[in-house]
Amino acid sequence: MTTPQNAKVQTADHEKVANAAGGDFATFQGAQVSLADRLHQFFHQYPVAAPTIVLLAAIALFSSIIGGRFLDPFNLSLILQQVTIIGVLGIAQTLIILTAGIDLSVGAVMVLTSVIMGRMAVEVGLPSGLALCIGLIAGGVTGWINGLLVTRFRLPPFIVTLGTWNIFFALNLWYSQSETIRSQEIEAAAPLLHWTGTAIDIFGARLTYGSLLMLGLFVVIWYALKWTAWGKHVYATGDDPDSAKLAGIRTERVLMSVYVVAGVLCAIAAWVLIGRIGSVSPQAGMMANLDSITAVVIGGTSLFGGRGSIFGTLMGALVVGVFRNGLALAGVDVLWQEFTVGALIIVAVGVDQWIRKV
């Protein structure tokens, strides 16, 4: 096949001039020069870097102010315990936010599934393993409902989960009859539900199985996001759903899977919750929704979707935990803890805006 020999069109003169100017088309190299540009590129490429630096700075700050009491292994492991529930919910929240959604129902799903687990084991008398499984399935079902409303009915995730937050919470009050299941009853009927609260002591640190479970989940989801096609599709769907669709990704199916996985993760958070507080209370975890979003945002994941890292959320949760713990040890009034967390959120979003600029 030869090129068409149409004499009518020659390479136009303006092109000759442009070609004479030399230079390459598509040289794939950045010509970054200034330090600010380099920093920008670094943070852009490694979204986990910024929250990690903040975490290290916070640890340095509080160890210099408070000293040994803060750095004590027991205190550090206490911080880890304190962030475990929000950490697990944060994983679910990160997945949703990566798809450019938001999930306001995570806290309600957690409480509802904890009540289901507790009642199935204590009131119905099922084996605790089975009760746990039913709770996890119920979590998946709540995610499926959210996912169905988002994908099939094309409603905005914010509105969907605002609605289901109330619905799941109401179901939780109805099913629990607003009654708390006491810790002793759970211990007697279903010790498995307390497993996540069981601690092992290492060098003075008290690590709960719940914390280890959380760290394990972070690794699993990190692997899924980084090393599987599903993870690439989650990012692509959040980044630009139309492009993703044209590239052949079934974005609706990806969204659905994300919501279901998030629901199951909320149910795992319920298991961690039972282990941590011992009892099953329909009023527990009221602030968990917003705290999980806080962890994700401080962790550097963009609310506009497609950008962020799962370990950023762990860092974000730890930053909040370290500030709360450090300020409390320093004797600062609890209201200033809230103030600090609020300021951190705004700074984190500001930094994200800067990083997202190309």
Partner: protein, 265 residues
């Protein structure tokens, strides 16, 4: 010119209606092996709908599409891709936050062999990166320093390069390019036109949708003129001038009145 007269991709009587609007009105379409076929038409003539029907992004209400003589029914762009038809969309359909290799393999990722791949679904990142590099080099696009660079850090022309490389690398039958030079500068456009010639040289037929008449007349073997939802003429760059093509396209000239004769197909 088109010595090889084998039709590889064909449509007969395609119709697509959106409510009261008929976007495709009983149009025909033919693509010969190894040619560059340009599709031109005014805004709203239904070029995009036709292209979407041919690339699987839209399911026509009526009509038949055949590939190598076999009837085909696309339900999604995936179906078209599975049959070796690759499309470079006007918006490029790249994911800005993913890197170059990720984008080239988006939707057709490869997994490592063995249990890691089958059970743990682990991606063969190294293999995909190496192949992406090789494909870019093949098209002369390899002045890449870092193939792990996110696509959003690339210029418009570079992104176009990635999108074209992706299509050229995976197409087995047809490459469709929708306005590939619309957003590009002079030198970058030149490079894309060269890429089109390279793709044809590989033996792949190319469907080129463009508003840029000089570009169309330079690279196309035949020009399919679309008007009011259907093909009204096929002209060749060596039998018609740009102004005649534009006149037919806008309705100023009736193709049947033209001595050189339309419907050259």
């Amino acid at each position: 010119m088109t010595t090889d007269k084998k039709i590889v991709f064909q449509a007969r009587g395609l119709v697509k209606r959106y409510g009261h609007v008929t976007a495709i009105d009983h149009t025909d379409f033919d693509l010969y092996a190894g040619e560059v076929l340009a599709i031109i038409g005014d805004n709203g003539a239904g070029k995009s709908s036709l292209i979407k029907a041919l690339s699987g992004a839209l399911v026509p209400d009526e009509g038949e599409i055949t590939l190598d003589g076999k009837p085909i029914h696309f339900k999604s762009p995936m179906d078209a891709r599975a049959l070796g038809i690759e499309t470079v969309y006007q918006n490029l359909a790249v994911s800005p936050s993913l890197d170059i290799a990720d984008n080239m393999f988006l939707g057709r990722e490869r997994r490592v062999p063995g249990i890691l791949g089958s059970v743990f679904r682990m991606l063969d990142k190294k293999g995909m990166h190496d192949e992406a590099k090789a494909k870019l080099a093949e098209l002369g696009l390899l002045t890449i320093q870092n193939i792990n660079q996110a696509v959003e850090t690339l210029s418009g022309g570079q992104r176009q390069g990635v999108a074209v490389a992706r299509a050229a690398a995976f197409a087995r039958h047809v490459v469709i390019m929708d306005e590939p030079t619309a957003a590009l500068g002079v030198k970058e456009s030149r490079r894309v036109l060269n890429l089109i010639n390279d793709v044809r040289a590989k033996g792949l037929p190319v469907i080129l949708i463009s508003h840029n008449m000089p570009h169309v007349f330079e690279v196309a073997d035949r020009i399919h003129i679309h008007r009011l939802g259907k093909r009204i003429a096929i002209v060749k760059p060596d039998t018609h001038t740009m102004s005649e093509a534009v006149a037919i396209m806008t309705g100023a000239l009736n193709p049947e009145d033209h001595p050189a004769g339309a419907y050259a197909a």
